[in-house]
């Protein structure tokens, strides 16, 4: 009597154990498929072609100190600081990603979507934008200005160490 009930118990636990295994396998499968699904969505992640894409903006001498040059088709503004350093701002508003405009008469970037204002260093003058304009890395090689438009960098506040200088 005692023996049989013991046997039955061990059968049920074994069965339970296998059931649990099935459940774990099922959950693992769901996660795998979800991961595979998401990876397929973002095919560029694997090939990494987008990590650098250098755009040649031209010779450094063609940019005067304290001026802003628009490269809207390439999604950036190039600013040469009064001290000669360069910084490239992304045209993407940091609020929700609209393309900002440079309004020369007010000396400000203004976003048409929800009217965030930025000064010429990209700092926020009026919200809803939560942070200054993102920048793209600038490389100066052979007096040519190369902008890596594939890699936008988040900044907190403008400071001169964000500038790139010619050697």
């Amino acid at each position: 009597m005692n023996k049989t009930s013991q046997k039955q118990e061990s059968i049920t636990t074994r069965r339970d154990f296998i059931k649990t295994l099935w459940k774990i396998a099922g959950i693992a499968a769901i996660f795998e498929f979800t991961y595979v699904g998401f990876s397929i969505f973002n095919p560029r992640k694997k090939t990494q072609i987008s990590e650098t894409s250098l755009f040649n903006a031209g010779n450094i001498d063609s940019f005067k100190n304290g001026t802003l040059t628009q490269f809207r088709a390439n999604k950036f503004f190039l600013y040469r600081h009064a001290d000669g350093g360069f910084i490239a701002f992304s045209v993407k508003c940091t609020h929700l990603g609209c393309s900002i405009n440079w309004v020369a008469e007010r000396n400000q970037f203004i976003c048409p979507c929800h009217s965030s204002h930025f000064d010429i260093m990209g700092n926020v003058l009026s919200s809803p934008a939560p942070r200054p304009l993102d920048s793209f890395p600038v490389i100066i090689s052979n007096n040519n200005i190369l902008i890596n438009t594939a890699k936008s960098v988040k900044r907190s506040k403008f400071s001169t160490n964000q500038l790139t200088y010619a050697q």
Partner: protein, 417 residues
Amino acid sequence: MKHNFIFHLHPKKIRESSIRFNLTFGLGGMAAFLFVIQVFSGLLLKYHYQPNPANAYDSILYINNGLIFGKLVRNIHHWSAIIMILIAFLHMMRVVLTEAFYNKRKNSWFTGISMLIIIILFNFTGYLLPWDQLSYWAITISAGLIEYIPGAGTILRKAIVGGCDINEITLSNFYHLHTGFLPLILLILAIWHFWKIRKAGGVIMSKTDNNSKMIDTVPHLIKREAIVALALTAFILLMSIFIDAPLHERANPIESPNPAKAPWYFLGFQEILLHFNPFIATALLPLLLLLFIIYMPLSKNDSNTTGLWFGFEHSKKLFIVTMPISIFGTILFVLVSELFAPQSLFPSISPIIATGLIPLVFISIIMLILLKAAKKYLAPSKTQIIQSVFILLSLSYITFTAIGIFFRGEGMELMWP
């Protein structure tokens, strides 16, 4: 043969009172029928639509101007999509108000919520396809909204958009979700939804209705379903003949329109984000909402008015006070937040407190006072409280959405429509 198919969906006999129109208003059936309309009008559009940025806009132009009945089919697909969100939403309200989400209907509640999310995803992915200024920037902005979700935002945005910008990968992703994956998921969920309702003994009915006499499904129920479907078809046809679906200029990734708005059903969310700190608006509030939705069917149904609209003696009163409180409370909140702009009033306080904690605490205190008052004067049961909280949240979101659609003009300034 014909009957065999019908009896896959319906039992042979049903209670007479379950087909009373003012019990369900046929809203679930309408949603199901709209899905059928969407599948067929969508399949027709699919013949001519080309899912790549170079040709998408031109193929829509061709559908509109070159194809016989092309514009009509596009209009039908456009308006039915919008009506589908509205109908699914009303259906959900009916389920809440007749207390039809408890016990055996728990599963239908969860599949229903999932279907509502899928319907919104349908609309969202479909919105990009015309590749005009409206769709391009609406999706850009929505992707920007997603990015605010703390922790997961950037990854989620990248996965949905398929990289950095809205481009050919995004369009391809959205197209195949819209025309392949989502319909399949919705179909599976709908079958599950119907099956569980049948297992629960059909739609919810009050105690007295549960004893009404049994009648044949064919012709009684079938006749009514046909009438609802035909009326809906007529309405959508008329609307599509007289009102054209919008189509703006070709998408221009360099020039943003002013103002740029998310698709209309996300405008409530965009509006909330204007008043709350991103952490609150994109993480805390949606999480609380989700928990409430999960809690609803798991809580105990302590009322004996299941299956009745406003069955509880005070519930009509309770709902009638809840509605204006929700609507005017939301409007007042927007005005106060807009006029006094807490962030510029206290620039030294961290934003999570100024546009997070302060409004939240303020709203919670008002809610608690109202709850106390309601408990004192109207003595609602737990079920009625859940119902009125649901009404409160829904109407508040609708009000936020209406403000976003009609009262936000150039530069997202408040304005008169």
